[in-house]
């Protein structure tokens, strides 16, 4: 009892600090959303207030009307969606191969998947630019989709390994006894069991693709109808005066889907990482 009493003020202080830190960490996001809803006069005010009494949708309207933000949003969604689906399927097959089979070069392959994760994607922009140009893919969404599939694969394979491994092999033997073919086992038994792991993996492919700035800037050079959100956002930075309302509204539109995705898969993410960490 005495020790509890002594520790109590310490804990309260710790909790106060925790809440203060949380407020500070959340403040930039709060300010972003707040500024997106502020009327123009309040954003351009030299006395910024942490609230607004007259929220307005003007900034959002400007963003969607002047800059075709809806189109860029759709482009980003197409790119990220395709990458998530394709890399999940390809990684599932590869992870199955390296966990359910024992073959020559298996360990070498695993180490290569590990090393591949360290390759600075940014450094490869130059050769990829020429590759895309020669393939006639510049200014198309394909020029963003293909490299992103490649760059999300090594991590996805590495992470899915743990999930595939967790499915007992007895299940596969049982399926064989029941007369299921290998393909049938793969897609109708293994795939649904590994699905939570696929979701956790998808968060990372989704985020890295959604956030991509460098490829979008380098490969979509003249056809702005193929732009994605990050580039569209920078249009609001002007040399003379930045349109902060527009920038904050655009930033909000770009951040919300990721936040929603994160919150939705939060639990699976933590358990997924936990599984991967223990492996």
């Amino acid at each position: 009892m005495t020790s509890l009493r002594i520790r109590r003020p310490g804990r309260l202080a710790a909790e106060a600090v925790t809440l203060l830190v949380a407020a500070a960490v959340a403040f930039p996001l709060y300010w972003m959303v707040l500024s997106a809803f502020k009327p123009a006069g309040e954003i351009q005010s030299t006395e910024p207030r942490p609230w607004t009494l007259s929220p307005s949708l003007d900034s959002f309207r400007r963003v969607f009307e002047q800059q075709e933000f809806g189109r860029y949003f759709l482009n980003s969604l197409i790119v990220a969606g395709t990458v998530v689906l394709a890399s999940a399927l390809i990684a599932f097959l590869a992870a199955t191969a390296v966990t359910r089979f024992r073959f020559r070069f298996r360990t070498t392959l695993l180490i290569m998947f590990l090393v591949a994760q360290m390759v600075p994607v940014e450094a490869l922009t130059i050769p990829l630019f020429f590759l895309m140009r020669d393939a006639g893919q510049l200014n198309t969404l394909g020029s963003l989709i293909l490299p992103h599939i490649a760059f999300s694969l090594p991590f996805a394979i590495w992470m899915l390994r743990g999930f595939v491994k967790a499915v007992p092999e007895a299940l596969e033997e049982q399926a064989q006894i029941d007369g299921a073919s290998r393909t049938r086992f793969l897609w109708q038994i293994l795939f649904p069991l590994v699905f939570p792991g696929l979701v956790a993996t998808s968060v990372f492919s989704f985020i890295s693709t959604w956030n991509d700035f460098l490829f979008a800037k380098s490969f979509i050079i003249s056809d702005t109808s193929q732009s994605t959100l990050p580039m569209a956002l920078l249009v609001f930075f002007k040399p003379d005066e930045n349109d902060w309302g527009g920038i904050m509204a655009g930033s909000t539109v770009m951040t919300v889907p990721v936040l929603v995705f994160f919150v939705l898969v939060q639990r699976r993410l933590v358990s997924g990482l936990g599984g991967a960490v223990k492996d």
């Binding site: 804990r11 710790a14 600090v17 830190v21 949380a22 407020a23 960490v25 959340a26 930039p28 300010w31 910024p48 390809i90 097959l93 590869a94 199955t96 089979f101 024992r102 392959l109 590990l114 090393v115 994760q117 360290m118 600075p120 940014e122 450094a123 490869l124 922009t125 130059i126 050769p127 990829l128 590759l131 490299p147 599939i149 490649a150 760059f151 394979i157 491994k165 092999e169 033997e173 064989q176 985020i207 959604w210 956030n211 700035f213 460098l214 380098s218 959100l229 990050p230 956002l233 902060w244 904050m248 930033s251 909000t252 770009m254 951040t255 990721v258 936040l259 990482l273 960490v277 223990k278």
Partner: protein, 320 residues
């Protein structure tokens, strides 16, 4: 983002999972030996074409004379050997950018780790509600795209309309004007979006330490710092290795934040880091071979970090 989490190695104290049954050669059902390769085919095709081949190309271009003239076919491509590299290391700006990159990355890594570990320890000392609130806030910062994080932080520190200068009474002090204040601003944003990974991972690690051990240390009158240094840190070593290496790799490659917040590398390039420098060389001034040579230098530095990482992983494997 989070790449290497998977290779954390086993946590000491956590129960090791039962060893998987050794699979038979050729697969669990004695299938044809090429079945695994069939499964690997799509992955290997994509990685070969879009990762391995570009790495080879990057190396190749760095040994060539490759500028706008060669790209448009006006002049033939010629082999320059190590010419680009000698030119690069003779260039005082490159050496300055290299030094700035290393120092900036080091500052980011140290700050991120300190903040992340301190908050992880703090999380273990509070009740569920405050913990949940901080976790949620951190998750928000983690999920924020680098581009929007950058725009928001620039706005927060805007000399005219930002709340920070008003709060600190700095008047119209411009953070992006001076070299060091601009780097400091970018550092704040980088730490903001990368400490959550460290915090969550280290917190999970601390939770795996039996609570009796920590209580015994506290009863013996050990200070929080002492508990961290003598009890937690040694046990958490494998996890700390992972988050440190991961942070080095991320912070060494910072691109978006520098590009957006300092408008492409700062006034007269004062805030350039290797990544942005390579981009500017290649795409702004069409010196593709110099840009590639910078890319190769980065690749080699990160490869060295990776090798150290693999060694540490292996050593941990032996200990366990």
């Amino acid at each position: 983002m989070t790449t290497q989490l998977t290779a954390t190695g086993r946590r000491p104290g956590a129960t090791t999972p039962p060893a998987p049954r050794p699979a038979r050669r050729g697969g669990p059902r004695g299938h044809r030996p090429w079945t695994p390769w069939l499964y690997l085919l799509p992955a290997l095709a994509v990685l070969g074409g879009l990762l391995v081949y570009p790495v080879y190309q990057l190396g190749l271009i760095s040994f060539l004379e490759y500028t706008q003239a060669q790209v448009s076919g006006g002049e033939p491509t010629s082999f320059k050997g190590f010419g680009n590299y000698t030119a690069l290391f003779a260039d005082p700006q490159f050496r300055q950018v290299l030094l700035a990159t290393v120092l900036f990355a080091a500052a980011c890594v140290v700050t991120t780790l300190a903040v992340g570990c301190a908050l992880a320890v703090l999380l273990t000392r509070v009740r569920a509600l405050p913990r949940f609130v901080l976790m949620m806030a951190a998750l928000g910062a983690w999920a924020t795209p680098a581009v929007t994080g950058s725009t928001v932080w620039v706005f927060l520190f805007d000399p005219d309309f930002g709340p920070v200068n008003k709060l600190l009474g700095l008047g119209d002090f411009s953070w992006t004007y001076g070299r060091y204040s601009a780097f400091a601003l970018v550092l704040l944003e980088v730490v903001w979006c990368s400490f959550p990974f460290v915090m969550v991972t280290v917190y999970a690690g601390i939770k795996a330490i039996p609570s009796e051990v920590l209580e015994a240390a506290a009863l013996d009158g050990a200070s929080q710092w002492r508990i961290w240094r003598s009890v937690m840190a040694p046990v958490l070593r494998p996890i700390l290795v992972v988050v440190t290496i991961q942070s080095i790799i991320w912070d060494f490659k910072v691109f978006t934040q520098i590009y957006v917040m300092t408008n492409g590398g700062g006034i007269a390039g004062q805030n350039l880091v290797l990544n942005v420098y390579a981009y500017q060389k290649a795409f702004a001034s069409s010196q593709y071979s110099l840009g590639s040579a910078i890319g190769v230098v980065m690749l080699l530095i990160l490869l060295a970090v990776t090798l150290v990482y693999l060694r540490l992983l292996r050593r941990q494997g032996e200990e366990l």
